[in-house]
Symmetry: C2
Subunit: 285 residues, 2 copies
């Protein structure tokens, strides 16, 4: 059985992409065949794996707009057990192109009727809006994982996100569940944080993950090397947090981990472990 | 002469709203009559001034969609010399409603043909996308101020933002300038930051503000009190940074500050200086 989890929050900068990249990597690390779909026009998940966005043959845009076959859009992530459907800037136009399309909220779901492979988990990195790309993702998904920063502005947006989830349940996907709420970028210096955490706990109760992702230098640096943190700094606090999150997600889905690779160094020889640092270059006319 | 500055970056969480709220407040503090337009459906700028979004008579949605008069949508911000056109969740639908509208990128510009008052500065807080609300803002504006976090993912988006600015120049607004690039949420613990700053400096050269906004607890806490930081913690590093930014913006626009209130405590008795802490409450069915 495949579990499809949308990682969504219309507030930007709350850690959706960092969570998508690193949770997917650790699920794969624990031996779960996983597919990660980049549905964000910013395509940061795609570049987080060091994939060159400008030379993609197929992308998530082709799947949702051009009826491309899923298998043609899937490519290796460089991490064993983890595949990816990458995105590029074509996806910017998709939101507008979808507006006048028949059944515009269910196109992704239809595309996945014939999903190849035998994935145990499919994760979807949603864009920071409640537009049609997010609605398509929530319509396809079994559940939604909400990363949220423990600050005031992000908290404000949760009401709206929950209203959207409820609308989707009424009309498009009655079985959509809350997979969990993940507190990210936790900064112990912020006195506000504990109050926000209390309020989130009151609303979501046991749906809040015990794992809290700290603000962590290594997590921020890893994408500039085109690597998930598991290969950039597996001993960092950020890496440990996502490893713990993966364990919680597995447990929540009834998967017991046997004695295994916990605490060990990643054992896979991986294409992504190249040492060349990506250029930090801004282009544009 | 009114200077209209759009605060834009399609990456979320880079400090657009914090910059809009606090730069506008300090421009007003330095005696410049200022109008702040909230064009982000998340309406965080509106709540940053403690304005109740659920009880607005008119909002930026009415201006761009319903042809409401500007003067009917303007309300006091609670800060002397600063007015605001607030937003609420109506604006979520505007992006889609605009798709099939005639001259859909120029509606905001047309609405402002008859702008009341005598504003020296109009600031626009754009949403985190390059959709029609941002295009309308960039078409109305004289210049764009780009807040950017000194990390890898935000830097990736700058190329795309600059491509959009160039398209707008070609088609809709040939005089659109770069007002400046503002480095935000600077964390000295991040070794990546200095490399990002170097790359940004290479591309934008003297358009990068000397002021760098640090990651600051007080800046993050202020909105939960419905206050700009000038009234919440005027002595904090975050407040000083935005005061310095306002001075740079004024200088860049040929406005010399005489001996004045710099370093003094704010002298205005302000409606916004209420001491009641806002409830941190998530609602939703």
């Amino acid at each position: 059985m495949t579990k499809i989890i949308a990682i969504a929050n219309q507030k930007g900068g709350v850690g959706k992409t960092t969570t998508a990249v690193n949770l997917a990597s650790y699920l794969a690390y624990f031996g779960q065949e996983t597919l990660l779909i980049d549905m964000d026009p910013q395509a940061n998940t795609t570049s987080g794996f060091g994939i060159d966005k400008s030379s993609l043959k197929r992308s998530s845009y082709d799947v949702i707009i051009n009826n491309s076959k899923i298998e043609d859009a899937i490519m290796p992530s460089g991490v064993d057990w983890l595949d990816i459907i990458p995105a590029n800037r074509d996806l910017i136009g998709a939101e507008v192109e979808l507006v006048n399309t028949i059944s515009r909220e269910t196109r992704l779901k239809k595309a996945f009727r014939n999903c190849p492979g035998n994935y145990r988990f499919i994760l979807i990195d949603c864009p920071p809006s409640l537009g049609l790309l997010t609605l398509n993702s929530l319509t396809l998904a079994n559940s939604v994982l909400i990363p949220i920063q423990a600050e005031f502005y992000p908290l404000e947006g949760l009401t709206e996100l929950m209203n959207t989830v409820n609308l989707i349940r009424e009309d498009l996907n009655p079985v959509l569940e809350i997979e969990g709420v993940l507190l990210t970028m936790y900064d112990t210096r912020l006195t506000l944080s504990s109050q926000v955490i209390k309020e989130i706990g009151k609303y979501f109760s046991d749906r809040v993950y015990q794992t809290i992702v700290p603000r962590n230098v290594r997590l921020a640096e890893a994408p500039s090397f085109g690597k998930p943190v598991i290969f950039y700094a597996p001993e960092s606090k950020g890496a440990k947090a996502y490893q713990n999150l993966a364990r919680e997600v597995l447990k929540g889905n009834g998967i017991e981990l046997k004695e295994g690779p916990v605490g060990e160094k990643p054992k896979y020889p991986l294409a992504v472990q190249k040492e060349t640092k990506k250029d930090l270059t801004i282009t544009g006319k």
